[in-house]
Symmetry: C2
Subunit: 243 residues, 2 copies
Amino acid sequence: MTAHLATSETEAGCTTCKSRKNGLCGRLSDQVRERVAARAQIVSYPANRRICGGEGDSSDVVILRSGYVRTQHHTLSGRRQIMAIARPGQTVGQENEERNEHEIEAITPVSVCRLERLEFEQLLSREPGLCRALCNQMVTRLDETRRLTWILGALESNQRLRAFLLLSRNWMDWAPQPDGTGVLTMILPRRDIADLLATTPETISRLLRQLHAQGLIEILSPRQFRLCDIPGLADGLDMVIPL
Amino acid sequence: MTAHLATSETEAGCTTCKSRKNGLCGRLSDQVRERVAARAQIVSYPANRRICGGEGDSSDVVILRSGYVRTQHHTLSGRRQIMAIARPGQTVGQENEERNEHEIEAITPVSVCRLERLEFEQLLSREPGLCRALCNQMVTRLDETRRLTWILGALESNQRLRAFLLLSRNWMDWAPQPDGTGVLTMILPRRDIADLLATTPETISRLLRQLHAQGLIEILSPRQFRLCDIPGLADGLDMVIPL
DNA sequence: CGCATTGTTGATCTATGTCAAGGACCGTGG
DNA sequence: CCACGGTCCTTGACATAGATCAACAATGCG
């Protein structure tokens, strides 16, 4: 279980980076982005590998190039809660500060830009553009985390799952059809869905069957759902579902 | 139900402001703080008054001078979830962006500095110090919101209440005694505790009695608790409780 | 072809939401 | 001084959503 596997790519990786127009990087000017990149190291991780947090950790700041990571926390009793899922273009780790409360793990294979925390902090002071972009991103993350808080606190599990399916359209493969339905490719296994929505894989499974029985979705395969009745799925959520 | 009641204080209110050393303002240099204050209007609200969010709203940015506010959201079915509680020195409203998803209400009587959103955004671009301070604050808020997400998702209600009591020491009146116990003055009514912890006032009441029966707390009055056994209260929370 | 992982289904039990009633406390007005 | 209404808190009875445990099916991999 080595720390991580460095790729052969050089540091001038922005040109090949598909998310240089997204998230944090997308809000930086080309010069600032290059100056950040000059201090970053590109690293890849396989699915389920720990990226930061937990025990002996270099506490770096990480910008996601590709793939998805989960910010989570474990109970001694084995319970896990996923607090956030980060997409390409988002930063991870700088919000962890001194105490390493959360573990951050790859969901899919990921590629990241790693920066040492200290260097990142210095860059932040020197580059107002970076600071502004980070601030904007933090607003977005806060908003997303509050939405999850709302989902967990105010909705029952059936509603949670429906909200999750609808929100997933924003960051998973979503193929809308002319008839208003669409096919969603779920990247999370049942266990992760459950730990995000604070329930169990068994319940997720049962609820999916129930949504199917109600004609709201079709289960094409364990990881592919057709959302047949989007207004029906959104019913009673009292929630702004972007997209 | 008028919008709000302006106080007689002038705009040079920083000198009289007890939280000018806390939160956002505490991280600004004196000059920057003065320049921000020059654009702010000091306003007071009684308890339970809406401060921003909801229907017709000026969508200002607000810095809390004194008192506490809650960021919350309602279901059509009447369920409410409190997503965050802000203390003096914290900003509120700038994270709301365009869509006004949350309502923000005074818990206690509050005094705030109001800034128009546009002016605030301009200040943010002109003053790197403000941007840096805001960025730091957003990190803190994100952290707190994630902690709430954790509490709601991973803990059962008994544990939620214990975590809440322990965390409350950081921002409510907390009088520690030499013997290791201490008296906590609860500023939230049962209803608010319930809506923060995603349960009901009835359950909160029962759980408090239960903690009392276990010798963990003493209920001096509905709003005053002696925390008798702090390690006992923290038991099984698997959580970093600051302080 | 095992073997491990992931997903599904069934049976059971309990924590807690809901409804209903009543108590404690406070301010107001007679 | 008391009666009144309001808010907040507490207690009891009851129903049920969903966690847990256990078994098994489906899938993928060496």
